[in-house]
């Protein structure tokens, strides 16, 4: 299955792009998706404790299972205002 992945702030800078599309095994969880990018970009590992995940524009637990067409983002601590 295909999911869309968005990167913001420091995570976008580490990954070097704002958006990606990736093929995952059916039923994969957000944590497994993050692990794929952590392998490609080891610098992400240090920031994992300070990230929250979103799935289809809602905050989601790392254990949330993904479905084809989902939009996932790894969000650094927010600093609007």
């Amino acid at each position: 299955m295909q999911v869309r992945v968005l990167f913001f702030g420091r995570v976008r800078e580490i990954v070097g792009r704002a958006e990606d599309s990736i093929e995952l095994a059916s039923g994969a969880r957000i944590e497994e998706l993050f692990a794929r990018y952590r392998e490609l970009h080891p610098a992400l590992a240090a920031y994992r404790p300070s990230l929250v995940a979103s799935r289809n524009q809602e905050f989601a637990p790392w254990t949330a299972p993904l479905a084809s067409g989902d939009e996932v983002a790894f969000l650094p601590p927010v600093s609007g205002g």
């Binding site: 420091r10 927010v78 205002g81």
Partner: protein
Amino acid sequence: MTPAAEDTIQLVHEPIDTVALAASVRAPEDGAVATFDGCARNHSRGRATLYLEYEAYEAMALAKMQEICIELHSRFAIHGVAMVHRLGRLEIGETSVFIAVSAPHRAPALDACRFAIDTLKRTVPIWKKEYFADGADWADGELPPLPAETPSRKAAS
């Protein structure tokens, strides 16, 4: 419960017209308009800031701002809300976020305005990068509250 029809929720890339926004929530039945004007500060943790850059997960940020607006109407006896955040490069002194809340009486207007900016800073996916004379860094942010481990499924759209 949905936001009142006249509520304004926006992300903009141009300077925010704070006077027009404050006026937009004012109606004859209101006795108070409380506003919060968040502006780009020239220092951060002892370093002189040259300018700021904001970016957002725009679709989700607007959805979260809508949620705040709905919550304001359900928690406080208010009338109108305007909530606008600017993105892109901001010079020192410029307004980054502006919130205006009108109400028949001052207490709900003030309380709702405070609740709105506090919640925005904790839950809306917007990020600030601070540029200094000797480099740049992402501002320390707040970790949004983590959802429960058993979420309800929401279909992809």
